[in-house]
């Protein structure tokens, strides 16, 4: 069942001019949730409330944020960290930059509340290096928050100390993976780490660390303000809350839109985004960034943007970065470009990924250029099987899924491009 969305007013990025300025943010109730939590709440109460609200991580995995927080061990007096993930490199995703640009203080407030809940000493905000302008915006917001006493020593007279730093990436998709992000923060090549130990036990500099997406943390003050029950009343039952949909591709009005989870894909395309360019038919939709399996245009009836509905349809929510393709799109070309991306971004630690992404790309180039044979399609699927789940991090899976599901769901497009392998004997 698609949720009601027409009367929804944005709450993550509300319609208030100049909200990125700290005075405007304060005037509109900003930092009051932080004050309330520091004065009246215990850290345990914050964790319980966030857990009850079931904020599912907005970075792709969709894990309950409060539950993740509860994995942090008891404080032992040594440093503990949050790494806020604003790497945002998944093709199709461009939502966190809206928070940096339009409502950075909501994120800072949320991260500070999270810090209080987990006895954190410092928050590192990891932003991809390409977002130079947005890094400056975030740095300005943090400086303002320090000046007003919302960060630093003795926050708002509560005796709680916490620092927040911005760390700029330098162009590596893999650094959006949580353990690779930590390696990058530690000033190393972004090689993902073997888990366990999980970050909550051994994270940044060997200390307990929680990694949350920027949008996830920006949801926290809303939960504290209105309660877990309010939050759960928005959007889909098992995947509640407002979400930033980044919609791009062959549509009339691409952009980032804030609506409840669980919206029907058809509503998003035809009503929110003004339909397809030139009134064409939908060939394919990638619902949550390039690594999520593409769906066929004729597969979309009744499919909604929440974890359960998308799983039933055979895809995933990912980062809610939707890419819409019209009927003239050459799927083989698109899948080749996705494979080229993963081949370029593979860190090279694990053989199935380093070589697998290369073989996928080479095979797809062969098919794209018209030299492919029917058996190459089976080779692609075989390669995917040999990559999935056999590496340290999920990049190999992310590279394999789009190929696997494109070959199975758009098989006729591939078959049109390849020669028959079986020849008649006589």
């Amino acid at each position: 069942m698609a949720v009601e969305w027409r009367n929804f007013e944005p709450v993550l990025i509300p319609k208030i001019p100049n909200l990125h300025k700290i005075e405007v943010f304060e005037k509109n109730g900003g930092y009051q949730q932080l004050a309330k939590v520091l004065k009246e709440w215990t850290p345990e109460k914050v964790v319980d409330e966030v857990k009850a609200a079931n904020i599912r991580g907005r970075g792709g995995a969709g894990f309950n944020a409060g539950l993740k927080w509860s994995f942090m061990p008891k404080p032992d007096g040594k440093p503990r960290y949050i790494a806020a993930n604003g790497d945002e490199s998944e093709p199709g995703t461009f939502k966190d930059r809206q928070i940096f640009e339009y409502n950075p203080h909501l994120f800072i407030e949320g991260a500070t509340i999270a810090g209080f809940a987990m006895h954190i000493d410092a928050v590192y905000v990891y932003i991809r290096g390409e977002y130079k302008d947005w890094i400056d915006m975030m740095q300005k917001a943090i400086d303002d928050a320090y000046a007003k006493g919302y960060l630093g020593k003795n926050i708002m007279g509560s005796g709680y100390d916490m620092d927040m730093y911005v760390h700029s990436g330098a162009g590596a998709y893999i650094c959006g993976e949580e353990s690779s992000l930590m390696e990058s923060l530690e000033g190393k090549r972004g090689y993902p780490r073997v888990k366990p130990p999980f970050p909550a036990q051994k994270g940044l500099w060997g200390r307990p660390t929680t990694i949350n997406n920027i949008e996830t943390l920006a949801n926290v003050p809303l939960v504290i303000k209105n309660g877990a029950d309010w939050y759960k009343s928005i959007g889909a039952e098992n995947h509640p809350g407002p979400v930033l949909y980044g919609i791009s591709g062959h549509i009339n009005k691409p952009g980032v839109y804030e609506y409840p989870t669980g919206m029907s894909i058809h509503d998003l395309i035809y009503e929110v985004c003004g339909g397809m360019r030139g009134g064409k038919k939908i060939k394919a939709v990638i619902p949550g960034g390039s690594s999520t399996p593409p769906l066929r245009g004729d597969q979309l009836e009744g499919v909604c943007m929440d974890a359960d509905s998308l799983r039933t349809a055979g895809s995933m929510m990912g980062t809610a970065g939707m890419i819409i393709m019209d009927e003239d799109t050459d799927i083989v070309d698109v899948v080749w470009r996705i494979s080229h991306f993963y081949h370029h971004e593979s860190c090279g630690q694990c053989t199935p990924c380093r070589d697998g992404t290369g073989f996928l790309e080479k095979t797809l180039i062969k098919i794209k250029d018209g030299h492919g044979e029917m058996r190459d399609l089976d080779l692609l699927l075989d390669l995917c099987t040999q990559m999935e789940g056999r590496t340290i991090c999920a990049l190999a899976d992310a590279a394999a899924w789009p190929v696997r599901y494109a070959v199975t769901r758009f098989r006729e497009d591939f078959e049109k491009k390849v020669k028959n392998t079986v020849y008649a004997l006589a």
Partner: protein
Amino acid sequence: MKENYEFSKEDLAEIEKIKAKYPDKKSPVMPVLWLAQQKFGHVEPEVQQLVAKTLDIPAAHVYGVVSFYTQYYGERKGKFVFDVCTTLTCQLCGGYDILHHLEDKLGIKAGETTEDGMFSIQSVECLGACGYAPMMQITNGVYCNHLTTEKVDKIVDDLKAGKMPEFEQIPFPQHQDESNNKEG
């Protein structure tokens, strides 16, 4: 000709500030490399040596970091580097047309630099501006969105005249259009 690379007093004060953010001496390498690249325009091996010496870490480690991240220029590039996005949405919306137009206009291929050292072109992976495709970034800085061939020509001409395009704020659609979520 071998150049001498040194950090100024102000740079060193800035580096001290960066070091204070991290608990160990290896971690500041990325922000310090950014600072060095901003100052010298690249991080060639001599600059890597300088960074290593300043932070008291092995030069091999600095080289490892430089070679892993695509935004560090381990070799000299043009004064202006066009990073043209061609991934997925930009591919769908004509990113390759923009790239090829730029290549024809400047007479070089992606990955090359013009002879006068003014411009380099790179075909890069997703820059996180998918809703505003096709797009490119200029020298790790400003984003140029909604590109057309005319817009590209103007940007190149402006840069030749020393004028950098300005940051373009793209309005949040729901702030702009009242009717959008009310009717339908």
